[in-house]
Amino acid sequence: MNPVVIDVENLGKSYRLGSHFQLDVTLPEMISLKAKQCFNRLRGIKPEPKTDDRHFNALEDVSFQVTQGEVVGIIGHNGAGKSTLLKILSEITDPSSGQAKIRGRVASLLEVGTGFHPELTGRENIYLNGSILGMTRKEIAAKFDDIVTYSGIEKFIDTPVKRYSSGMSVRLAFSIAAHLEPEILVIDEVLAVGDVEFQNRCLGRIQEVANSHRTVLFVSHNMAAVQTLCKRVIMLDHGKIVADGKPEDVIPLYINAGKLQSEDLATRTDRNGNGQAKITGCTITDLEGNQVQLGKPWQINVEYETSHPGDRHEFDFTISSANSPRVCYLSTNMLIDGPQHWPAKGTIAVRPTDPCPFWPQNYTMSTTLKHNGSICDQMNEAVQFSVILGEQNKYNSLGRRASVMVLDAEVRVDESQKSLAENPFTADTTLQNRAA
């Protein structure tokens, strides 16, 4: 049994809200408020009691232990308290209650390239960023060549960073961070930036750190990454730990929580359109209603309401990933012809004929509902979903040669040297390879 290196006991963090100490008051407001309080006290009016609704609990009563060499994934929806937890563990902010005990040198990477200055050259930024991350100049100098080689930007090392492409500066920044040698590595959603190659490099590096017996705390929305890297996953929701266990047990909870979240679509306010029809719910699942798996059939179910019952409507959606704004677009207009009768309240079920071709990662779906050519309801990022590697199927052999989509195709291998035109596919020469 490895020793415990992180011991969190009843950790809590609350932010004060409300009129007593608003975080965004200006000075005159604050002074007049204080004056009013004084005046009221003089007149014998008691100040309003501090009630709990003035506090927002970002973290509540969180306890867990991590032993040396563990790689722990921390998951949860936005606002669940993941980043707050990491900020406390990396000493950026104090907890409000409870305590966390840590032993070993902690390096936290809450953002790639913190403190990079665009006017400075790559070389200067390596020294600057390195010292912000807590390295001494000597350490940086010793690792300088490795950092540059690893980042792959040798040629531009004396060029100001503002001339870099965003990919280059991210690579440089990650390379610096990758050369910290902490015993405990705390990482927030750094995979969200950069291309697929960069993400894989990050994952590879985290794996290396983990293999060298060091501890990693890893926050991500990318379930595929969490699944591959972590042996243990902690799920947070509204500041509390709701699950702590093996990835295969905890990740489905997260996905289900996502489904619940999508039911809030009915009450969402950041939407456009004339409101004559409305999307009230949306789920993206496999045919059994579980998480979408690569290479398995999948479906999209949309609940709607309309004030034009009986008319033809148009529903379309765009699926995006972090790297590509438009992975896939479909519209009922192109899928169904002729007159349509849409009831006042109903469900649109879209079942793509191809198995899910999306590489395991996170996707978001934006939805639009139109009537008579005008937009009734439009929501960006209406639903978040992630695709996972499911049961063994032919796509699993892809490994990390990931693209956004996995194309299926008919493939033929035979002895003839004829071109395709001379020898077209026929039913009996084709390798029937479609996934079930």
Binding site: E91, I92, D94, P95, Q99, I102, R103, T136
Partner: protein, 313 residues
């Protein structure tokens, strides 16, 4: 494996001890961990900090190189992509000196108040430390907001930031000093032993600027109002400091009040050192006391306020 718990946050003196041990232990641990031998060093406890906090000097020392790096960054960036570059550090004070000599010296007849000393050099010898002080206060006030991204994303002793902000003014100060030397040659002012005092006066200026700067930096984190208030405050401060006029113009019964301004004694002493006239030791002593007390208050206040920085900024 027995756990050693050190209540670091509540007994600040122990923080020092804990940190040092953690660092030295960590280096050995990395190697040992690879050898599959486990010895993870001592606990660092993170819990709510209440009451008066001690300044964690050991940590500051550990991050000492960051001070230089941040200052260097600002200096390097300052005149990037300007045609005249560092010449601006000379152009600005010289222009100010010329304009002020003309208006205050000639038109307002201030040159009659300063005796035998040529007014331009009288003025410039005060303008120099004043500009350094003013830009240090402004820079450190804004430093927290300018670096807010860093504050919310990474841990390092926050005190380093406002101190590093004095780097650029210091370099400008050094550049402008060359002009002072030229002026001394031009007006054939002879060098006196008192010039040896200048480094001490520079240090004293930094101390005075930091006393104000630290407090302003900390309040600016919550109230951005100070970003607009400070330039105005500096302007007022300029006129209550004997830069364009000699201190003796201030009525005798107001002297005690004006001496509370640390820049008053410092500027007088600076001017006296350059011109080789007698230094008003009591005034300089008063300034030193005020500056040191101010800095101590600034340090304590900043250290106290920094706990909330990442949450409020």
């Amino acid at each position: 494996m027995p756990f050693v718990t050190v209540m670091a946050r509540e007994a600040p003196v122990l923080v020092v001890v804990t940190w040092e041990k953690t660092v030295s232990a960590s280096q050995t641990t990395t190697q040992k961990a690879i050898a599959d031998e486990v010895n993870p060093g001592q606990w660092k406890v993170l819990k709510p900090r209440k009451g008066l906090q001690m300044i964690d000097f050991a940590r500051l020392w550990q991050f000492r190189e960051l001070l230089g790096m941040l200052a260097l960054r600002d200096v390097k960036v300052r005149y990037k992509q300007t045609a005249l570059g560092a010449a601006w550090a000379i152009i600005q004070p010289v222009t100010m000196m010329v304009v002020m000599s003309l208006f205050f010296g000639r038109f307002a007849k201030m040159n009659e108040q300063v005796g035998a000393v040529p007014y331009p050099i009288f003025l410039y010898a005060a303008l120099l430390p004043w500009t350094f002080f003013a830009s240090s206060v402004t820079a450190s006030t804004n430093s927290m907001v300018v670096n807010s991204r860093m504050l919310t994303k990474i841990f390092f002793p926050r005190l380093i930031v406002p101190f590093a902000a004095t780097g650029t003014p210091l370099v400008d100060y050094a550049m402008a000093f060359i002009v002072l030397l030229a002026l001394m040659v031009w007006y054939s002012v002879s060098l006196s032993w008192q010039l040896l005092l200048l480094p001490a006066l520079v240090a004293l200026t930094i101390i005075s600027a930091m006393g104000v700067g630290l407090i302003l930096a900390a309040v600016t984190v919550r109230f951005r109002d100070f970003r607009y208030l400070v330039p105005f405050m500096i302007q007022v401060w300029f006129f209550i400091t004997p830069v364009i006029y000699p201190n003796k113009m201030v009525p005798e019964n107001w002297q005690w009040l004006i001496q509370l301004n640390p820049m008053c004694g410092i500027i007088e002493a600076f001017r006296a050192s350059v011109l080789g006239t007698a230094i008003n030791w009591s005034s300089l002593g008063m300034s030193t006391v005020v500056a040191v007390v101010g800095m101590a208050i600034g340090l304590l206040y900043f250290n106290q306020a920094q706990r909330k920085f990442a949450d409020v900024i």
